[in-house]
């Protein structure tokens, strides 16, 4: 049996609380509590937004380089060292391109569609934790917020598919909606099994439940089936190959984004990559111990004879947490990119069959087995 996760409030270090220190600093300058809070509020949001966009740039570069390596090419190499500025050049190109709205398209819905695709994805970053207190908001509904926000996306896809007034776009939009409805259910069931084990929807609690014994207490060992289901469904939700049916080039030109150009296309592009990074981050939060180091940092600090609450140790712990979260996420992104450039696309009937006839029953069985194990071994399965 695996060692029980020793989650006691005293054991888990409180971690850096930037908000408390920032607020107390502002209050010492003579500002009111409410005003200090109002000044604090936009800062983490801007920081996370910037992090998300930078994450996309890194992602685009990785995609280009890894695809090149898979196909035995060199990839971008003139824009900056190793082509590292290539994503910026791409972004700049999209920014200055002419913004075309087709003549017979529905202008309003055509503009609103990409926005509706991007905004929920960015909002979902609200619950991604990079440390004990290093997240925008530790809302109680946590991971459920992400599931419900990601269900808004198909409306944006349907909207842009319809508004383009193009049969390929409409088919792409319909496919995207069908795909995202089918894969949402096994995804939610896989998450539910995790939630059952950690007795909380909050992402911070889910990670805290996986600390204790380092790599051995990560959820991937207790939920291997759930991990595979979640990863497949996350790829399908991100419309990555092998599930990129909505924009299958050979059949649908580019699906719902056929008629888009310039910044509106860039919104789709940004949305899909932010979604990929977000999914990878959430896989690492749910299954790979989030910000946890493979060996608990508390043990390391004890071994080095440092008190865990010392300011310097706290800063180092927080940085290690951020690095670990990002590292795990980008490892998963690497696998997603490698998958994209190695496997062929599935057919739409295979896709729906996989979702409804295979993943859904397996996810249900996984949930029931988790419930049974939780009753039988409350020590190891979060009692």
């Amino acid at each position: 049996m695996l060692p029980s996760p020793l989650v006691t409030p005293g054991f888990v270090a409180a971690g850096l609380d930037l908000q408390a220190s920032f607020s107390s600093w502002l209050e010492s300058l003579g500002l009111s509590v409410a005003l200090a809070r109002a000044i604090w509020l936009p800062l983490p949001m801007l920081l996370v937004l910037t992090a998300a966009v930078v994450g996309v740039l890194v992602n685009v570069w990785l995609e280009r380089k890894i695809s090149a390596a898979v196909q035995q090419r060199i990839g971008p190499e003139y824009a900056g060292a190793l082509g590292i500025l290539q994503p910026l050049a791409d972004g700049l190109k999209l920014l200055v391109k002419e913004d075309v709205i087709p003549a017979r398209a529905d202008g309003l819905l055509f503009t609103l569609g990409p926005v509706l695709v991007l905004v929920p994805v960015i909002l979902s970053w609200l619950v991604v934790p990079f440390g004990q207190n290093l997240l925008i908001s530790n809302v109680g509904v946590g991971i459920f917020l992400w599931i419900s926000l990601s269900s808004i996306q198909p409306i944006g896809l349907l909207m842009s598919g319809y508004a383009s007034n193009n049969k390929y776009s409409l088919l792409g939009g319909l496919r995207a909606a069908a795909q995202s409805i089918s894969y949402e259910i096994p995804l939610a069931l896989a998450v539910l099994a995790i939630v059952m084990m950690s007795n909380s929807l909050s992402t911070v609690d889910i990670v805290n439940q996986q600390t204790g014994a380092g790599i051995l207490s990560w959820n991937i060992w207790r939920q291997p089936v759930g991990f595979v289901i979640f990863w497949i469904c996350a790829l399908a939700e991100c419309e990555r190959l092998p599930f990129d049916l909505p924009e299958a080039e050979e059949e649908l030109v580019a699906g719902y984004q056929t008629e888009y150009a310039g910044m509106k296309f860039a919104l789709f592009y940004l949305g899909s990559y932010i979604n990929l990074v977000l999914s990878a981050l959430l896989v690492s939060v749910l299954y790979l111990g989030g910000w946890g180091f493979p060996i608990p940092v508390e043990w390391l600090a004890q071994w080095l004879g440092q008190p865990i609450d010392a300011p310097l140790v706290q800063v180092i712990t927080a940085s290690v947490g951020i690095v670990m979260t990002v590292l795990k996420a980008y490892l998963l992104v690497f696998f997603a990119i490698l998958l994209r450039w190695t496997v062929p696309r599935v057919r739409i009937d295979q896709l729906l069959d996989l979702g409804w006839k295979f993943l859904l029953p397996i996810a249900l069985v996984n949930l029931l087995v988790t419930a049974a194990l939780k009753l039988a071994f409350p020590m190891a399965f979060g009692g």
Partner: protein, 204 residues
């Protein structure tokens, strides 16, 4: 007045205006696609009101169920049966509109009267915040068990009905009209997709 209450009031005003104008749009617009998208907007605004009332779980469930499932299915249905047909003029349209308008107005005055005559307890019950999710779960499995189970039976019935309607190929006669089933339809349903590319070209 503090910053928090001001923000709350501004948010409430925006959300309330969105709900009222949006629902008027859902009813009054002639383009059904616009109505469906506006309906999604109204659902989202209602979720925002729940958030203002400190019911974050209900808000998230509202978005998941109403926006993510109900509204997407409505849109899906509209776009799959997007047939161009010229509707024939309905006789005495004006009278119908006046009558339905009168009914709506009556209902509205009734609701207004209820809203103004009920002695609402002020201030309302204390919001329990994050604990609400736990409390909802407890209620589902104790005193609200029967409605909860009834709702699931209702969903099961709808699901079985949908399967029966969709799988006409397993019945020799049509489940609705009782006529012998269309043999061509049965053949088509039993042919796997994309095997005979020359005959079938269904690729959705």
């Amino acid at each position: 007045m503090t910053i928090a209450t001001t923000t709350e009031q501004i948010c409430f005003l925006i959300l309330a205006a969105t709900i009222v104008l949006g629902s008027l749009g859902v009813v009054l617009l002639s383009n059904i696609v616009y109505s469906a998208f506006l309906l999604g907007g109204v659902f989202l605004a209602v979720a925002g009101i729940y958030l203002l009332l400190n019911a974050s779980f209900v808000a998230a469930a509202q978005v998941l169920v109403y926006v993510g499932a109900v509204n997407v299915l409505i849109l899906f249905a509209i776009m799959l049966v997007n047939k161009k047909e010229s509707l024939s003029a309905i006789p005495s349209l004006l009278l119908r509109r006046v009558l339905s308008g009168a009914v709506c107005l009556g209902l509205f005055t009734l609701l207004l009267r209820v809203a103004f005559t009920t002695a609402w307890p002020l201030p309302g019950p204390q919001p329990i915040g994050e604990e609400a999710t736990l409390r909802i779960g407890e209620h589902f499995f104790s005193d609200y068990l029967l409605p909860f189970e009834l709702a699931s039976v209702l969903l099961l019935m709808a699901m079985i009905g949908a399967i029966v309607l969709a799988r006409r190929d397993v019945y020799a006669s049509d489940v609705i009209t009782g006529e012998p089933a269309d043999q061509g339809l049965i053949e088509k349903a039993r042919t796997p997709l994309l095997i005979n590319r020359s005959e079938t070209s269904t690729t959705l």
